[in-house]
């Protein structure tokens, strides 16, 4: 998994930002409550805290020959505000 995505930070994040994101994620997924998620977060942080490993990942980057349609994968869906009416229709069953 892309370690920047795992920590929810952009690729140009500084070392301080990487650390802050890691601490934030540890609070969200403490090892005793969410060990699997914590493992992923920890792996991502380990990849990014070492400048050489980070450098290697930076140079690796995304695959330019990947099918263009795959750019849509993992793209966060838009969340449009539609006002209360459509929500109330669900509540009223009509």
């Amino acid at each position: 998994m892309n370690p920047w995505e795992a920590l929810g930070i952009p690729e140009d994040a500084s070392e301080e930002q990487i650390r802050a994101a890691y601490l934030g994620k540890v609070k969200e997924f403490p090892p005793e409550r969410a060990p699997e998620e914590f493992e992923k977060v920890r792996d991502a942080y380990d990849s990014l805290r070492d400048p050489r490993r980070r450098g290697r990942l930076v140079l690796l980057g995304p695959d330019p020959t990947t099918p263009l349609v795959s750019l849509l994968d993992g793209l966060p869906g838009e969340r449009k505000f539609v006002g209360p009416k459509p929500w109330l229709k669900v509540l009223n069953g009509r």
């Binding site: 330019p64 263009l68 869906g77 838009e78």
Partner: protein, 857 residues
Amino acid sequence: MFRKPDKMPKPESLDAVGESSVRQLIAQGKHKVALERAKQIHKASASPATEALVVDAYAARIRALLDHGLLVEAKALSDLVRERYPSAGASIDQLRTSAEARQGNLDALLRPLNDPAISLEQRTSIEEAVGREVTDLAALAECPALGAGHPLRTGARALHKAFEAVTSQLVPEDALVLPEVSRRSPLAPWKMLIRAIGCFYRREDEACRRYLEAVPPGSAASRLAPALLAMADGGSRNSLPHEAAVLVSGVTQERAGLRAALQELDRAFAADDERRILKGIRNAAAECRLHCPALLEKLKGYMTVRAVIADIDSDHALPAMGGHPRKDAQFHRLFARALEATSDSKHYTFACAIWAAFLEKAKDEGWFTGHGPEAAMLYIRMAELLRVVPGHLLEMSQASARKEIDDPEAFYYLYPELLYERACAIDPHSEHFSKWLEWASTNRLAASSPEKIAEMWHAACPQDLAPLLHLMTSAERRKSFHKAIAILDKAEAIDAVHPAVRRARLRLMFANAVRQLKQRKPRLAERTLLVIQGLPQVRQGDRRAFLAALRGICSAIYGSTKATEAAVEKLTRLLDSAAAANFVIAGAASACNYQFSVCSPADLSEKELAALPAAIARVCALAEDIGWTFTPRRGWLEVAARSLRERRLELSSGQLRLLAKVALRAEYPEMAYMASAAGLALGLADEARFLLLRAQALPEWLWNRRNRCIAAAISLARSAKDSTLIAEARNLPTSGSGELSIEPDELEEVRRRERAANVYPTRQDPGPIYSSMEPEELCDCPACRRERGEPVDEDEEPDLGDLSFLDNMPLPEGVPPVIARALVEEIKQSILRGESPDELLDRLGVGGKKRRKGKRR
């Protein structure tokens, strides 16, 4: 005879069976069928019990109608039941009130709450109904049946406002505390739902899920939970009711159009159809701009890069996508990687230029600094790319760059030396130095000598063994043994048990002693030999024999015959062979520029002659061990070959391999062939190695057999995972097609026939011929291609290899046919030899004035 039993089991009453089936149908949600069955039962045997069953079935049906939002139908049915079955009063009234409540008519439901004498049971029941049925918060907030300050009204007012807010804009968490609604309030599920919606829009999906879990399943608010979860998780919408699916579609954008456009563009790139690609780019950009503007810049970057690789004119591609993509670090990285992915070294210099631009952008955008490990890795990557570029292409690129600015630093990305140097200066890491040293050792463009790089490496990483080993070997090659030994001392301090370090000590000491003897400095040599004697390594194998040989030469230089004889005697004793002793001392003496011989083949006894191949193999092993090249004289090898041919010697696989190698080195392939035959007869263990030696021993004109032996050796080595042997085999020159693949059945045939071929091939008896295994080489001349039905360009020149056209040439007048035919034959030979017409005429003695030397074109 059949007799009716005295006591028959009492059948279950019809009512009981019917009731149970009705209840079962209700539980299964088949309300309509349950109601029909209950009505039939009641009609058949009307009783209070059956009436109660019918009422229950009606109640279930009304509840189902309510659940489906069919409030009018539910109310009408409850009115009918109330009228027809007065006994159903309380339960039907409750359902009716629920229906009213769902329609926003809350008066009937809530009015009893104003009664101070209301029982706890009734209050609880009303509050449960509020939690279960009320969906119209505005109606509850304005309900006249309750006082303006009633907690239900104030709570509903706050919730209504918050619900409108969270569905219309981003609302921070702290604005959704809603203190008006207590934890015990029947409206508490609404509070959880509103917070969940707030979290969803703030993209706090985990918190959203937690709030939804706190919404009780039967509550009115819970009806939104499936839709909200589908939106947060991006899960399937197929199982959602229509209204929920509409909500999900409305909130989360549909990208079907963009997806289809991108798929079509992918297909267009795959088909390499320019017109289709440009149309696809135009459509994809338009769809993206409309439905996913956040993706547009990224998509433009990808489309630009792919268009460049597909060789689409940028004057057409860029307007189609609506202008240039943003040229940031991301774009440059993508572009450089795309150029790398072409696997075409011609693009690599361009890729390096793009990587250099990426570096500048990355620095500007704060990805990393220009003097960190990331930058160093980038320099190394560029340098490694340039390694693949053919030298002449790289020099051409450098020359054209110099025409613009005569400063290599400006185009540093075209100079591997500068790139390695920069990387090692920024990040003096072993890996970087290692790559630089490897490049400098093999590349003629390197300005820095490998020794200089190794010294820099050693200075930067003093604990690394590799630069010391390089410096040591380099000094050894220059015969600076003192310097090599000094470097070895340092290497031993780092890792004395490293195999290369361990082997080097004895090798260097011996080499130093040989040099000292060569310089006729026996005293110095004696001192060195004394040190060697003290080394523990010298006690292994036959190493002491070489020491004794050097001692003998030392004594001989001194002129001490007695000491020399003693040394030779010791040497003979150590090797248990006069011949082996002769080889060692003669070889060592030759290395010291000294003539020394103990015996000749004629001096050997019959027993020693029989042991001669083993003695040669033993000395070869010693020579390999101490880094000395041993090649006996041809006379000795001929005697050994005779012995090998005529006697049944019991030599090991290792000895036979050494004999074959020394024979190849001495250019005596017959003996190498003989050793390979003996080795192949030994069986499977070293079959691949012996097949390879067989290939090397074969005469050049048997190139087909030679290729087959190499292919078989590679195939066997591959099965044994012997990568060294595979590399060795691949480095051997091949002839003909050079095809080195072999089918399993062909392999078996080669193994079988080579094992049987014990005699060195001659023109008369060439041994196995594998012409059927060699792939057929199709002639590429226009005539043959035309014959095979392949396309031939009419303007194509005739094949120079096909000289049959000469036979049909008209003969010059007055030339006798015999002379003309001889002349044609001579011309054919001349063309095949590559002679110029002048050379042909000169050779035939009919040329004009002879050209002066140096003037020939």
